[in-house]
């Protein structure tokens, strides 16, 4: 298939950047979207041009490295998948595809389609862990956890930190990401001891990093590859108020 790519090119953080056009003729429907970009890059190498920088690692939807804005949607036109899970069969021969990096004040562009997501790491550093030395793994049945609790914690824990929620949110809010990390631990007995500190510090860090406040457009949960529900954000609000009141 023949595709006209319109891709954001930016030399570095200080460069202004612009959309550049590339036409690729020999793509197939079976190719993944990232393979199509690889293919384009191979052609650029042959022409002695600078390749397009984009992030990827596992290419199977588990690492959260990949992630670009494709034709006006985070991770492309299909709901709830990563960029690496998108295939060229989702497009038609002759299509024009816009590819842009995540846009957010807190995710500055490093180069082309790669953004700096270390703001997420700093939110994690403010409490998305349990700060006790647990020694070796305990006996599995020593700490019974009801199935419903285990499942809701697991649902939240499945967040891979790709940043699609921030990218698609008109406010660049990190509320979906942060709430998933908070609720994952605060729901479990292991996380209880530090629950108030965790929610207070992680949400405060979210503001310090410059993310906006959630206005519940709901775009994040449509783009989230892990189907993290927006209800997590409401739960985070409840936990934050509880923490403020109980101290």
């Amino acid at each position: 298939m023949k595709i006209k790519f319109k891709i954001w090119r930016q030399e570095g953080p200080e460069d202004k950047g612009a959309i550049k056009e590339y036409t690729v003729n020999d793509l197939t429907e079976e190719m993944s979207f990232l393979e199509a970009l690889d293919h384009l890059n191979e052609q650029l190498v042959l022409k002695n041009e600078e390749v397009i920088a984009f992030e990827h690692d596992c290419r199977e939807g588990i690492c959260g490295q990949c992630g670009v804005f494709i034709n006006g949607r985070a991770h492309g036109p299909i709901n709830n998948i990563t960029t690496c899970q998108l295939h060229m069969r989702s497009f038609n021969d002759g299509d024009t595809i816009f590819v842009e990096p995540w846009r957010a004040k807190s995710f500055p562009v490093i180069k082309d389609l790669i953004v700096d997501r270390s703001a997420f790491d700093r939110i994690i550093e403010h409490g998305a862990f349990i700060s006790t030395n647990t020694g070796s793994a305990p006996e599995a049945n020593a700490l019974p956890i009801p199935k419903a609790v285990a499942e809701s914690a697991m649902d939240a824990a499945s967040c891979i930190g790709c940043g699609a929620c921030v990218a698609t949110c008109k406010n660049s809010s990190a509320a979906l990401f942060t709430s998933a990390k908070i609720n994952h631990l605060n729901n479990l007995p292991q996380g209880k001891a530090e629950e108030h500190k965790r929610v207070e510090e992680m949400t405060a860090q979210m503001d310090i990093e410059g993310f906006g406040s959630c206005t519940f457009t709901g775009a994040c949960e449509v783009e989230c590859p892990e189907n993290i529900s927006i209800v997590n954000i409401a739960e985070m609000h409840a936990r934050l108020m509880k923490a403020k009141i109980l101290g």
Binding site: F69, G72, P77, S172, S213, F216, A219, V231, R239
Partner: protein
């Protein structure tokens, strides 16, 4: 600390108070669609009772405060949220993942603000502040608020203005009502699904109600 969240709490609480107020306001306005003589007595009695009640006086201060706080914190939230996304996408298909109203609450809010200003000038300024044309008394000695309303809606342009601006109000409420509950930490999944339906019905009743009454009065 948590300034952005506190702003949203104020936005949600003031918004919900305004939502409650709208129910009372619309119910009272329904009196206007009775036949002329009945409507005049009922509406003027109602309006006089409100004006003379101390309880309502307190509520009215809450109402002024709510409007001012809501607009002010909406402005702050919108400005700070825009700053969080300094560079926009060349192509952004928000319509595929969210509703138009959820993406444009600020714009819709400005339309409602325009409405509120004109509305207060038409009624509140004349009746409460005594500005503009004097409000006469009806035969029971009550201020003839019915006449103020009736005469305003004999003007075609005001009917259009009032009825058209009921649309943005509906859009604002449809998103705002359910959003406010989530801001306030209501996270029961089934409850939120029900709330989404309630928000839609509420928004429809309020906007269709406020939108139709001027038209009905015009044709009386």
């Amino acid at each position: 600390m948590h300034l952005k969240f506190i702003r949203k709490l104020i936005l949600a609480l003031s918004g919900l108070f305004l939502c409650l107020f709208l129910i009372v306001h619309l119910s009272a306005n329904c009196l206007l669609i009775f036949p002329e003589a009945t409507a005049r007595v009922l509406y003027n009695t109602y309006s006089t009772t409100l004006r003379e009640s101390t309880f309502i006086k307190v509520i009215s201060y809450f109402l002024y405060a709510s409007i001012i706080l809501h607009v002010w914190y909406a402005l702050l939230t919108t400005i700070s949220n825009r700053k969080s996304k300094p560079q926009k996408y060349v192509v952004n298909r928000t319509n595929e993942n969210s509703t138009w109203s959820s993406q444009n609450m600020g714009l819709i809010g400005i339309l409602i603000l325009l409405f509120i200003v004109v509305h207060l000038a038409n009624f509140w300024a004349r009746i409460k502040l005594g500005l503009g044309e004097e409000v006469l008394l009806d035969k029971h000695g009550n201020k003839d608020v019915y006449e103020v309303t009736y005469s305003l809606f004999q003007n075609f342009y005001f009917v259009i203005f009032y009825s058209l601006l009921a649309f943005p109000l509906g859009l604002h409420l449809h998103h705002g009502l359910k959003s406010a509950f989530k801001t306030l930490g209501f996270y029961h999944k089934k409850g939120l699904e029900l709330l989404a339906k309630v928000s839609l019905i509420y928004a429809l009743i309020i906007s269709v109600g406020f939108g139709l009454i001027p038209i009905i009065v015009y044709f009386k």
